[in-house]
Symmetry: C2
Subunit: 376 residues, 2 copies
């Protein structure tokens, strides 16, 4: 992986860069659509490529481990071939899912014992086997195995957990050195900063992670219910410490506004289920605010879905038609809303990149944050 920093904004810490991997170039800032279980829900890979056009998408190790299972992915020659996606993929490490499964997992120094949400079968994730699983899945960027603490989190728990995440990081790195690439392309490894919402822990963790000298670095344990101010405060202290010449990935964030604010703080990469999950509930993000397409007010609004939209759904379908599909519980409604929202998120980060390069990012960001805060 090669990261090039093209420009840093003067009035903010926003950065425009590019990451080169064996599966192509990722222009940053980037938003990575979430393809949990080898599919971005309701979206054909062709539409993803041709309409939404992200340089990279995300897969979830926990879900892929359970279905289709590692063995099938190995036989397929990796996730890219299995799902027919020849651009970049990043996989998380299962750490976040372990956190989500709070009732069905037990965290120990060795690793995490958990029960499958599908059939209740018992499994164990350790830093070592998660590295092996991610080798077989074969994403271009793979993540360290960490514990994602909940919010709010007791200081002592956050501290203990952070130190365990650091010890797990060392085990990940040791094990990766012994585990060659599975396929004919390289994988880059990103460690994850933890420390809950405590600035001193975040600083400590960022220093530990920076010292690992990885090709890129991630910020985890946020977007778990904390107020936006706390999120921004953590990003700010962490970005001051993480090396400038490596990409920074803020995991699981967030709303369009969260994304712009965090770009302003120096984050390069994002992922979140919000554009896809909210789409399935009829919520559309636009440059002028959010739309609840289920509202009766759209019933006879025959104007295009989003005049400023970049995808075919924005031009070809009307608000009234999409409202009808949601009222009639037709799945095409969810498909349309998903393509719109992902198209919008990708437009947003591409536009941010243009503004950073043009030098007027800060002014544009402030205007957009106001605009996007409305409900239409």
């Amino acid at each position: 992986m090669k990261f090039t920093l093209h420009k840093t904004d003067v009035l903010s810490k926003a950065r425009a860069g590019s990451i080169e991997t064996d599966h192509g170039t990722i222009q940053t800032p980037i938003f990575m659509p979430v393809g949990t279980v080898a599919s971005v829900k309701g979206v054909h890979q062709k539409e993803l490529r041709e309409e939404i056009d992200p340089d990279i998408i995300l897969g979830n190790t926990y879900h892929l481990f359970l279905r289709p299972k590692t063995q099938i992915l190995k036989q397929a020659g990796g996730l890219h071939k299995f799902m027919g996606w020849d651009r970049n993929i990043l996989t998380d490490s299962g750490g976040y899912q372990v956190y989500s499964l709070s009732a069905n997992r037990k965290i120990k120094e060795e690793g995490v014992k958990f029960k499958s949400h599908i059939d209740g079968s018992t499994h164990m994730f350790t830093p070592e086997n998660v590295m092996e699983i991610q080798r077989v899945i074969g994403a271009d960027i793979i993540m360290a195995f960490d514990e994602c603490t909940p919010y709010p989190c007791d200081y002592n728990y956050a501290k203990r957990s952070m130190h365990m995440t650091h010890r797990w990081l060392d085990r990940c790195i040791d094990h990766l050195e012994k585990t060659p690439f599975e396929y004919d392309y390289a994988q880059s490894f990103f460690p994850i900063v933890q420390g809950s919402t405590y600035k001193d822990l975040r600083r400590q963790s960022a220093e530990y992670i920076a010292n690992a000298g990885a090709e890129g670095n991630a910020i985890g344990g946020l977007s778990v219910g904390e107020p936006a101010d706390e999120l921004y405060a953590m990003t700010e202290v962490v970005c001051e410490i993480l090396p400038e010449d490596k990409p920074r990935y803020l995991m699981g964030v967030g709303t369009p506004i969260n994304i712009l604010e965090n770009i302003a703080l120096g984050v390069d990469m994002f992922d979140c289920v919000m554009p896809t999950r909210n789409a399935r509930n009829g919520m559309l993000f636009t440059a002028h605010g959010t739309i609840n397409i289920k509202n009766k007010k759209w019933e006879d609004d025959f104007s295009p879905l989003d005049e400023m939209g970049t995808t075919f759904v924005d031009r070809e379908y009307s608000k009234a038609y999409l409202r009808h599909l949601f009222a009639a519980n037709e799945y095409l409604g969810k498909q349309i809303a998903t393509i719109h929202n992902l198209g919008f998120y990708l437009w947003l980060v591409r536009e941010a990149r243009k503004r950073i390069l043009a030098g007027d990012f800060r002014e544009w960001k402030d205007r957009m944050v106001k605009q996007m805060d409305k409900r239409l």
Copy 2:
């Protein structure tokens, strides 16, 4: 509407024709994908146009009347504009849905009182208001209001019902004469032959319908549970009587084999929910037989979905991937299977047309019927 008969097969009664309407040419034999409530479930109109490529699709008057309701369709300028489909549309009359709602409807000479399956509200369909509703929906081909009898059906009930359907037909025709087109294009009206599985009633009904001198004629009340032999026997007697110079539409039929056999008996138009509904349950139709993609045998079959398939899903996705999507209950699986099945049905009728024009339809049909009867 202008129907041109290009060729009739020598060894069967199969016909290749074309229908010209204000929304373009329909090459026959044709299969019409079902877009019940202004959407072919799980398929974007763009995919329908570019990948499946039917000259005509079907909408259901009963469903459209309830959602989005006639008033919204009128404001939109008709169903074509509402859903963004500029090729041909045919709407049924609600007669079949009335039959399906058996517990919630009362059939009288005046018309049918029924309860909405959505909110239990009471409505009345009469031959007159169904013509008005279909004017507003604005399909290119609209259907007579009929009663679709169940199978099996008592002879006397079938006879009484058939006569009522004939009286309703006269009322439809009278009322249509008083009801101008709603939009700037013409609509053609097709009456429907009934008579259950009784040859004498079918003959009587076919004569009555033929005498109406409509632009096309339909055969209804079949594919409701009767054995294939009875279906074919009814089609045969009816096609002998219906005029040769008008298109013949067999409603609600059927499997790929049913379609080829009925083409051989002189039918020109078909519709059925089978390719779309069965797709959503993981059943794929192919030229070499049917596939239940949920079976474990496909788990590690990384070959393309259908090497002979005509759509992008056939080339871009593997059987193992589709099997995984069904196992993981990912909606993309249903989307892929639906596009495949509709692509196959459209390929089948286009291929039938080519064979009729080339003169080797009968031989091809007999071979295909054997091939498609297998389970893969």
